[in-house]
Symmetry: C2
Subunit: 366 residues, 2 copies
């Protein structure tokens, strides 16, 4: 990972520069709309539905929502993570002395059981540099196979963060590879922000987004999105599962203090990590994220089923938490009603990834 | 359906006119690319794979293919059929005397167990006219529910074509509704052709398509595509299942005589109908389709799995026959090798629809 002294400042202009750098390597993913889902989102929930939730007895909100789905599930490797990985490696190639010091031969390293592993492997392979990936030996076989298919050198570790970090440190000591962390680095944040930048340019001429909502885990995508929206007037929100305290962003924003540990078994397996310090400096420090909202496991499943049936695209559980907030979270829906009124909101919704096996998808939304 | 004396001539200019008419109602569906699938398509099959096929013992072809996927599975109602239905109804509204004769109150009628039923129902509902849909009582419950969700009046019939036709004739006699046939009409053909027209305009500036391949059943999509390519130099091919004689297009083109009866149980359930006479007049009469190629049931399943895993979009079995031809049909692949050489072909591949339940998809590609 490029040395912090050489990274670009965390600004919208830097997201634009990142986009220029990675454009040749990534897909400009499509932005889809769906009138059936808009109608559903713009229909008040029933009192019966709210019974048993924290909103029981409240008058259901009446938001008007037009949703613009940025389909990063159709990105290379099936997730937005390709953006950050390509940007990190392109920036590394620009770091004074890295190539001269044998960087292209030593390569890059990271640890990941999921999309980040594939993203770093793909980006490294395109630049013809070695990728050393530490994966927990418990990782799903299709994810191991996918990572291997990009030519990565895989080392297995124990399943816990300390095991993984120790193993990647050994790999780096042996190879001289440079670490590419999954979210806690400016290069990664700026790369992830390019999705929201593209989204802004892909709307019909008369349409202006009121807000964008993205999933939030380590916070790379959310903080990058916030930078991409800085100064545009577009509000930015984060979405999370609520299970077992997975809503650390929401709680951190409410208290003003970053929660740095989360243990959750949510089905949204990409969203089990707490927000990292550098993303937090954008989200909270720069005040660029307005709020976090969370959804239940059942709401995630319902949103997944709707996307499968109505939109005909494949989304992993983590990808739909933003849509689930728009459909089911009465606090968010009440905000849209109050501020949007009859005109309503044009809401950008980032689908973060589509890496879920058919078997797993069947289990999840049966 | 608009009287034949009032329809536009079967030309590329008429496809352009159709596009102007329906543009406000349809999605401009995205065009996706996938480097993994391109690599797979551009890798020769092994001799072991060809053993047991009609190409056993032949040297595997070495085509170079860049595929451009036109995603009509992401169209409204999940299939290209929306294009023809919107065009048919917009043309009907322009037919002299139809509105004055109470057409808006009498509405439209058709019989279909699948995508055409939903397409006509949606298009009629947008124009606020009644849709009378005859469905076989054996139709899948989700398809009945989807058709009903657009506000259609559904009448059930026996499962065979004569039963369905007799029932729709009764409905028309009773209501005065105008028939909207699924493929054998110029308005439908011109509407379906708009997908290929869009595809031509969605490529990067330096790219010119060598050919487009579409699934072929009644021939509306294929003949419309052929008209959209007339005079452009783009070759047009049809793709079909081979099971139990479902390859009627291929056989008709070889003999020069249209086969008008097919009985097949192919999993590509949208492709069980033989080419109709008006589509045939374009395909063969105008000489605008170069050839038909067919694929096995197993090849259809393999292509579906690849699309699910690599592209993250949902496709029904009928949708992938064009891709399966590009991946597996050695006659087609040999043609690309011979004519495309090292430069290869840029091939447009139309994904026709994505209406398949998750349960069914799981069964098909397990």
């Amino acid at each position: 990972m490029a040395d912090l002294s050489t990274t670009l400042p965390l600004t919208r202009a830097s997201v634009q520069a990142a986009h220029e750098l990675i454009k040749p390597y990534i897909h400009q993913t499509p932005v889809l709309t769906n009138s059936t889902i808009d109608r559903f989102a713009s229909t008040p929930r029933t009192e019966a539905e709210l019974a048993g939730t924290e909103w029981a007895g409240r008058t259901p909100a009446k938001p008007v929502l037009r949703l613009w789905f940025k389909c990063e599930n159709l990105q290379k490797i099936g997730a937005f993570k390709a953006r950050g990985a390509f940007h990190a490696i392109e920036r590394l190639k620009l770091e004074p002395g890295w190539i001269e010091g044998g960087g292209l031969e030593k390569g890059v390293a990271t640890h990941s059981s999921g999309n980040h592993a594939q993203a770093v492997s793909l980006a490294a392979s395109i630049s013809k540099i070695p990728a050393h990936i530490v994966m927990p030996s418990t990782a799903a076989p299709p994810k191991i196979a996918a990572t291997r298919s990009y030519g990565a050198n895989i080392t297995f570790s124990g399943p816990n963060a300390p095991d993984r970090e120790a193993t990647v440190a050994e790999v780096i000591a042996k190879t001289g590879a440079r670490m590419v962390p999954p979210y806690n680095h400016p290069d990664i944040i700026l790369g992830q922000g390019t999705a929201a930048l593209e989204l802004q340019s892909q709307l019909p001429p008369a349409t202006t987004l009121t807000a964008i909502i993205t999933p939030c885990s380590g916070g790379g995508l959310l903080s990058g999105t916030a930078l991409a929206c800085e100064g545009t007037g577009i509000h930015v929100f984060g979405a999370e599962p609520s299970l077992e305290g997975a809503d650390d962003l929401r709680r951190s924003l409410l208290s003003g203090t970053r929660i740095d540990s989360v243990t959750t078994t949510t089905i949204a397996d990409g969203l089990r990590t707490p927000v990292g310090p550098i993303p937090w400096s954008v989200i909270h420090g720069k005040g660029l994220v307005r709020a976090g909202y969370s959804v239940s496991e059942d709401e995630i499943r319902r949103a997944m089923r709707m996307v499968y049936e109505r939109m005909k695209v494949v989304v992993e559980p983590s990808a739909v938490v933003g849509l689930a907030v728009a459909l089911f979270n009465e606090d968010f829906r009440g905000l849209v009603e109050r501020e949007g009124g009859e005109k309503g909101w044009d809401l950008g919704v980032v689908f973060s990834g589509g890496n879920v096996s058919l078997e797993k998808l069947g289990e999840l939304i049966a």
